[in-house]
């Protein structure tokens, strides 16, 4: 009996490595490059990159393989990336925004200087300038490579606007007036996804951008400006004011719900970027919805062709493993990405002649035109500037500010003290 028992225990212990399965991979002459990505699975970027990697692999006789581990859900992704790096386990290629955390990776010498790389290889001008500049740190250095390029706009219901005789607002003031009229008529002016928080944060950045470009947020981040400065207060007031026009309970409304509210005509406006153009297409072609760009401030410093643009999360390369094999592959990507990606009806960060065998929609051409007209300045989201701790506090409390549950003074002191405690640390 005793023996039987020992046998049982031993067999359990022996089973463990079996369950652990696949832990040890055989050594071989195949080069494997790991890309720890945060792209929607089966999305256009994901499929384009897989296609390119597949082709590249074939050209190298299968001796080169790109392994993609993708987590689209951004909070989960960031948590895993940070644990990976904390565990000293950085993959060959990662996805990351040019935020203070990324800066600390750069400071630790972990990332490749992508700007230098592009310039050395003579590829810098292959890209849309704004797409690259979005990836830059404030000092102009750049460590991440964009795979997408977007502009953000305010979509509106033409039917609702017509019903109340409203025109597309040209200035921020007019925008608020439009909201007011709608609200007085019992229409929800703007559908907002508060669950993901970044959409609300965009409203905070609008006024400061109109009056100072990105200077205010940079000064704020560096501790040289206060949230309580006149411009900061103006930003807060704007959030408080426009917050009244958000759908009821926006703090608990998720992305899909906000978007459906707009598409179903339950809200008159909706702020989102061109990445949702396919969702908008049907209503757009039916003449039900249209978009306008961020209104201007008459005495402001930025123009109507300058507003929020982003080139998404960027790709960064592990300085330790960025050898000829990865380098060559990245050049191959730069060579081929634009065309394949654009043929999937996407806005490419690389300048590209649109393939002729693909039929693009009017909406696509219109957005492309707006992109071509883009001014030199662009509104960069605040979450890419602020340190992680301040970002968390700002995102938590901006919902309260917009719903009128927090006073401007409280907000100012929270942000200022967090920046004082966490900036330049």
């Amino acid at each position: 009996m005793k023996r039987l028992f020992l046998f049982a225990i031993i067999s359990i212990l022996m089973l463990m490595p079996v369950m652990a399965g696949g832990a040890s991979e055989e050594e071989s002459d195949v080069t494997t490059v790991t890309w720890f990505a945060s792209r929607p699975l089966g999305g256009e970027i994901d499929t384009t990159m897989r296609e390119i990697a597949e082709r590249y692999s074939q050209e190298h006789g299968g001796k080169w393989v790109l392994e993609i581990e993708t987590t689209a859900d951004r909070p989960s992704y960031l948590q895993r990336l940070r644990t990976l790096i904390a565990g000293n386990n950085m993959p060959d290629i990662i996805d990351i925004d040019a935020d203070p955390y990324c800066q600390s990776l750069v400071d630790a010498g972990l990332l490749v200087d992508v700007k230098q790389f592009l310039i050395d290889e003579g590829r810098y001008d292959d890209y849309q300038e704004t797409a690259l500049r979005y990836q830059e740190f404030t000092d102009g250095s750049m460590y991440t490579l964009p795979l997408e390029y977007h502009i953000e706009m305010i979509w509106y219901r033409k039917d609702i606007f017509a019903q109340y005789g409203l025109d597309v607002p040209q200035t921020m003031e007019e925008w608020l007036d439009v909201c007011k009229t709608l609200s007085e008529n019992g229409i929800t002016p703007i559908a907002v996804d508060g669950v993901d928080r970044w959409p609300v944060l965009r409203y905070m950045a609008m006024i400061p951008f109109r009056y100072s470009g990105n200077d205010y947020i940079i000064a704020l981040r560096d501790g040289k400006a206060s949230m309580g400065d006149p411009l900061g207060r103006q930003a807060i007031e704007f959030v408080q004011e426009i917050g009244q026009y958000f759908n009821e309970g926006f703090a608990a409304t998720d992305y899909a719900t906000a978007q459906s509210m707009f598409l179903n005509g339950q809200a008159a406006m909706y702020y989102i970027g061109d990445w949702e153009q396919n969702a908008m297409l049907e209503a757009y072609e039916a003449g039900l919805v249209d978009y306008f760009l961020l209104p201007t401030a008459p005495d402001g410093t930025t123009g109507a062709n300058e507003y929020c643009a982003n080139s998404g999360i960027g790709m960064a390369f592990n300085a330790e493993t960025f050898d000829e094999k990865t380098k060559d592959f990245i050049l191959y990507v730069i060579e081929n990405y634009g065309e394949i990606y654009a043929s999937k009806m996407q806005m490419s960060p690389l300048k590209v002649d649109l393939p002729e065998d693909v039929e693009f929609t009017d909406l696509y051409y219109r957005i492309a035109e707006d992109m071509d007209n883009f001014g030199p300045a662009f509104m960069k989201p605040w979450d890419t500037y602020l340190d992680s701790a301040t970002n968390t506090i700002m995102q938590d409390n901006i919902l309260l500010l917009a719903s009128g549950d927090m006073s401007a003074e409280d907000f100012i002191s929270l942000i200022d003290s967090s920046i004082a405690a966490n900036a330049n640390k």
Binding site: M19, Y255, A256
Partner: protein, 283 residues
């Protein structure tokens, strides 16, 4: 006579109220399954616009898409591996430890028991960083074992507690008698203790199979490869850019993924009842 009638009427009324309460609660408990299933039959836009109405035009498109993509089966197999492996270990280890702590003479018993039960209070989130670093050094990230270890570790305190509290009800005389008959401690465990503890096993298995099957936090931290993903993680496959979730697909995947635990639970449930009517548990 009249009193009797009143009494009868009261009894009927009582029964009706009783039935209503039971059924009302039943509705509250069962409704979510119904809701999840309905949700999976709607396109995402309809789902977010009118979440509580019946689908206007039920469509199995979500299911077809999820199944066609085919990844969910692989995730299921991983989940089965993790859940099965953990359950076997939890039940084996905790029944053995429970037996040791309650039926052996040792001055460490009380201290060890407190040491184990102490684990009930530990928030699982604290293990993420230390275990992650450890796993990456051992190169066992993305394996079933990396999930099984913490699952078992955190299930042990409660299951050991349950076994100990059950075993203390098993009369020592029973063991004494067996020892006199020449049974070894191992024989006693297999022949006497285990059969008696059937209910405790079933309770633990039904509780933990579901908790482990649905675990997200460990899987989310220790698994990144597609080939090692569990079902709960696979549900996040339908998250698009900037946080947009395709809820129609997600709910279809959820519907598929709750089938195995449902089947297991319905199957085990018979055992629970059988065990109970046999009236095995008593002090």
């Amino acid at each position: 006579m009249r009193d009797n009638e009143v009494y009868k009427k009261l009894a009927i009324l009582k029964k009706v109220v009783f039935a209503i309460v039971i059924i009302l609660f039943l509705l509250i408990q069962v409704y979510p399954v119904f809701w999840v299933f309905m949700a999976s039959l709607k396109p995402t836009v309809e789902l977010s616009a009118s979440p509580f109405s019946l689908p206007s035009a039920p469509t199995f498109e979500n299911f077809i898409k999820v199944i066609k993509e085919g990844k969910i089966w692989g995730y299921m197999i991983n989940s089965v591996k993790v859940t099965g492996g953990s359950l076997i270990l939890i039940m084996a280890l905790s029944s053995m430890a429970g037996y040791a702590l309650s039926k052996f003479v040792s001055r460490f018993n009380n201290a060890l028991y407190s040491f184990f039960t102490f684990g009930i209070m530990i928030p699982v989130q604290i293990t993420l960083i230390p275990l992650f670093i450890f796993y990456s050094r051992m190169d066992i990230l993305n394996t079933s074992f990396s999930l099984i270890l913490p699952q078992v570790g955190f299930a042990l305190p409660l299951s050991i507690m349950m076994f100990v509290s059950f075993f203390t009800f098993v009369p020592n005389e029973l063991i004494e008698a067996a020892t006199i008959d020449g049974c070894t401690p191992y024989g006693i465990f297999v022949k006497i203790i285990l059969p008696l503890a059937k209910n405790t096993f079933v309770t633990i298995a039904s509780m933990y199979s579901i908790l482990i099957w649905n675990d997200f936090i460990f899987a989310n931290t220790f698994i990144s490869k597609d080939s090692a993903k569990t079902v709960a993680m696979g549900l996040k496959d339908y998250v698009g850019a900037f946080g947009n979730v395709d809820w129609g697909l997600t709910f279809a995947a959820i519907t598929i993924s709750i089938l195995p635990p449902m089947i297991v639970y319905f199957a085990l449930n018979k055992h629970v009842t059988a065990g109970m009517s046999a009236g095995a548990v008593k002090g």
